[in-house]
Structure formats: structure tokens, C-alpha cells
Symmetry: C2
Subunit: 156 residues, 2 copies
DNA sequence: ATAGATATTGATACAAAGTATCATTATGTG
DNA sequence: CACATAATGATACTTTGTATCAATATCTAT
């Protein structure tokens, strides 16, 4: 059984992010107007690599109303270009999404977010879902870890 | 491969909850004092089968301070007898935990929570973790579904 | 049983992460 | 340009908690 599994676990993707899409264009394609505020928000997000909180984005954009930052991020979430994930205590964190379905790792020490995708997990989850009464409409999964940097760092 | 998987997915547990433990005794064992307020809270929780929110519990116990309800639930979480899980929008929900590691299903229509445990998922997750840099310290996983009752119910 | 040490409580305030209102402003369209 | 509509931002409000701290309950030792 262990042998079988080790064969099956072969395709973990942790590839770097591909060329970033034009988020404003994506919003326009959905019929939303390209306002200066939305331009400001997406431009900041396009430069942010790791995860971020909305308050952090809002703090860096004092010229854009807080509600508008939330509204824009909600649109991007709905468009699927952002993911909302949860730290172990439930605190929300956002990150740019890749096109394909994937999941995240979160360092419990420093909060750094990573991505991974593994078809075996997905297939097993589908199989599990088939055994459970009701129609599966989605799932959520996060792996919590202590990243290499935080392992090196002395205790704080 | 499909055949293999269907063989491997053999041990999904959705067994009904076993005899409930004495929550107050668990708290006492950890050195916490058995106060009337804690008695009230755990006694209510022991009668609650499905998921609940803290505000809901607090609302049903007007004689216990809101902060104390939160504090008690936090103790039970730390003791491992409660699970905190997240609806798709991130809204928190609590449920009595079983002793063994497991995960939850949540109906996206009515919010009903179910439990499941599957060793294959766990093994695959461990294998995935082994491929990821850093030391895995935990994971979170929820399956979202439309339960049978909600499938039957006409659109609301 | 009483006293003193300590844990717990509850009222209140505060915080984080949003959402609802609604008058004002910007944008797109003809 | 004119008008309809979409978007904004200030503000208030909501939800899910946590921090303070004086008052109270509980435990322990005498
Ligand atoms: Mn997945
Ligand atoms: Mn698990
Ligand atoms: Zn780290
Ligand atoms: Zn349901």
C-alpha cells in the first residue's frame, strides 16, 4: 500500500506564478467600469507577491476609500483571480490565484503563503465525496507548516 | 487507476457520535474550576448535536456573561473536545469533536454539519506534505455540499 | 469554619473584518 | 452635451471575538 501511494504521489506543483493577468481588463470584461480607484487597487495587488490583508492594502492606498477596497477585492474574488484563505485562527488572508484549482500552505510562524496542487489529493477527495450523502459543491484545504526560514530562525 | 482508488477508498467513517464525555470533568482535569457558569455552558453544549455559534449559545444562556461563554468555549477548543470550522464565507461554527482526527462537511444551504474520516486522505496529505519544504504541523479541510434534505426542498 | 490567595466573572470598551446606507461623483452612451 | 447608471466614500452598523479590571467565587491551609 505504501508503495502504491508513493507511485501515486508524483505531481505536486509548486511552480512559480505565471505572467500576471491584467486584472483591470478582467474586471472590464465582466462589465465593471475601469475607475481610478480600481486601477489603484489592482495595480497594488499585481505588485504584491505573497498574501495580504485588506486592511494592509487599504492602508497603502489612503486615497481609496476602505469600502471601495473591500468592494474591489470582492469582485476579484468572484472573478476567481484572488483566493481567500484562513490562518489557523481563522484570520483571513488573500493571495493572487492561479488559473488552476490549487491549495495553500501557510507558515504558522511568519504567515508566508505557498501554493500547491496535487491531483491525487483531488481524486481522493472526489472519491470520498462520492461516498458521502449529498452533492459535493466544493472544498477547502490548507496545510499549516513551519517554513524553512522559521526553522532556522532562533526562538522568538 | 480508477480501480485502485475505488479499492483504496474503503474506510470512510460517518458513525454517530459515541457516548458524550463529561465536559466539566475534562475541564477540572486540566485544573480549571467547576463554576456554575461553566456548568451551564457545557451542559448546553452536551445537549447540542449539530453545529452552533457562540452567539447562539450565549443567547440561550442570558445568566452567563458573553465573555465567559467565549472563554469556556476557548478552553474546550484547546482541550480538543470542540472543533471550530468555517463556512464557505469564513463564518465560524463550532461542533463537538470526536476523539479521533476527522473533518467536516457543511451544507451550503442549511449549514448542517457532518463528520467524516478517511485514512486515505490523511495518508495522501502526509505524502504531499513530505514533498513540501518545511515541517507540516497541521491541516484544515472542509467539504461543502448540498445535503439530501436541501436537494429535496424546493428553491427558496 | 475562617482567612487569604488565586481563579473566575461580567460590564464595558475595544478590535478586526467586513456590510449597509445614501448623498455625491464619475463614467459610459446616445 | 445630457442623461442614466455605476461607483465612491463617509458613516454607521454588524459579527466575532479579546483586553481591562473591579467584584465575586472557589480553593487551600490553618
Ligand atoms: Mn482541492
Ligand atoms: Mn485530516
Ligand atoms: Zn515562516
Ligand atoms: Zn442542507
Amino acid at each position: 500500500m505504501i508503495t502504491l501511494l508513493s507511485i501515486m504521489i508524483q505531481n505536486i506543483n509548486t511552480t512559480p506564478r505565471a505572467s500576471r493577468p491584467d486584472l483591470l481588463a478582467i474586471l472590464e470584461d465582466q462589465g465593471y467600469r475601469p475607475t481610478n480607484q480600481r486601477r489603484d487597487v489592482v495595480s497594488l495587488l499585481e505588485r504584491k507577491g505573497e498574501g495580504f490583508t485588506v486592511e494592509e492594502v487599504s492602508g497603502e492606498l489612503p486615497e481609496v476609500g476602505r469600502a471601495t477596497v473591500y468592494r474591489t477585492i470582492k469582485l476579484l474574488l468572484k472573478a476567481g483571480v484572488l483566493c481567500k484563505l484562513a490562518l489557523p485562527d481563522g484570520a483571513p488572508k488573500y493571495i493572487m490565484a492561479r488559473a488552476e484549482h490549487h491549495h495553500h500552505t501557510v507558515c504558522v510562524k511568519c504567515g508566508t503563503v505557498g501554493e500547491f496542487r496535487d491531483t491525487t489529493v483531488e481524486r481522493v477527495l472526489r472519491a470520498v465525496g462520492a461516498e458521502i450523502p449529498g452533492e459535493i459543491v466544493g472544498h477547502r484545504m490548507e496545510l499549516y507548516l513551519v517554513c524553512l526560514d522559521c526553522q532556522d530562525r532562533p526562538e522568538g
